[in-house]
Symmetry: C2
Subunit: 212 residues, 2 copies
């Protein structure tokens, strides 16, 4: 049995959760109460010294792992699914996963937090505007890469697609509007039409509605 | 023959260049005049649509690749060097490489640019302070991970170490002081004592001194 420490608002956790779900593995979520500081607690530091979700525990193999992209790699290792068909395609999957970590999700996750989950009087306007500008470049790169293609790598959905979509289904505004980026928009629709796809707030416990 | 499009100031290019150098492969740098806009040119977009260095071209295998971590993976594939000894160790190498892309180099590279290579009257003070705060958490995680260890994964140097050190040898100030982080400091000394190690400004063409 695979357990995933996660919460609905985390797009990084979503990448791992959606990969588990689409791969058909048995898994269950373990809710981390991030907004009450649980990820920064001493107890949680024993689970992940990086102080972040997701954390995956495969109890059968007594194996613990953090970082969404590393968990995705492990799921591919267990199932042989959701990866490239050749060594070159698998390196291309890695390339997009690294790009996502560097340019897209790292910025989008932070920006969405600043714009929605920080108290209004604490939101840093200059950081928000600056990060929105950087993200526009990332959306441009992603939209161009999807021109004439169904998926980022090869002819099937891979963990590269699941990595890059991590923050792009959330309803809270952070300056990303699907209608501005037609190729991204069509690709998100294609992903969400896959059997087993779920929205982050349906796949993992916890959402802003719980705190309203 | 392997060609690497790079320039001295790019810590991301340095990760690829240092991996090539320490692996013993034959390679040569191709200078990209980033500070005169070459990376944003139409000509360069044909080489890398992401508009970034490094770009590696393996002329013998007619293979082009971008993203430092993907290039590192290819060098490991060619040489079998600088990686973990077991599948678990290799996944741990990936985990640290992803973490570096997400939390460390992506922030440090941008911050060093803002603090040193932007005109003084254009430097965004709030973004700089905010990013320095985020990076302190990253240094704390890295310093803790190196407690009692020579290298991040297993018993030997790997591409995970080379990824995480990408921006940490540069002399330009961006709020990182080796003496604040004794485990990082000792690890950087250990890395720079490896046979073949070179400073980024010695390994790749271009440095601030050229523009002075």
């Amino acid at each position: 049995m695979i357990k995933l420490y996660c919460f609905g608002e985390s797009g990084n956790a979503y990448k791992a959760a959606l990969t588990l779900e689409l791969s058909g593995l048995e898994w269950e979520p373990v809710y981390v109460d991030f907004f009450n500081g649980e990820a920064r607690s001493e107890e949680f530091a024993k689970i992940n010294a990086m102080g972040e979700v997701p954390v995956m525990i495969d109890t059968e193999h007594d194996y613990r792992l953090t970082q969404s992209g590393a968990i995705q790699d492990y799921i591919v290792h267990l199932t042989g699914k959701l990866t490239g068909a050749t060594p070159e395609e698998r390196r291309e999957v890695l390339r997009w996963t690294l790009w996502d970590n560097h340019k897209l999700s790292s910025q989008a996750g932070m920006l969405r937090f600043l714009m929605n989950f920080l108290a209004e009087d604490k939101r840093p306007a200059e950081v928000i505007a600056f990060t929105q500008g950087r993200l526009k470049n990332a959306y441009r790169v992603l939209n161009a890469a999807l021109e004439g293609r169904d998926w980022l790598v090869g002819r099937n959905v891979t963990i590269a697609d699941i990595s890059c979509c991590g923050y792009l289904y959330y309803p809270e505004p952070f300056g990303f509007d699907r209608s501005d980026w037609p190729n991204i928009d069509a690709w998100l629709t294609r992903l969400s039409a896959l059997p087993g796809w779920k929205h982050p707030y349906d796949l993992m416990p916890g959402s802003p509605a719980d705190r309203a």
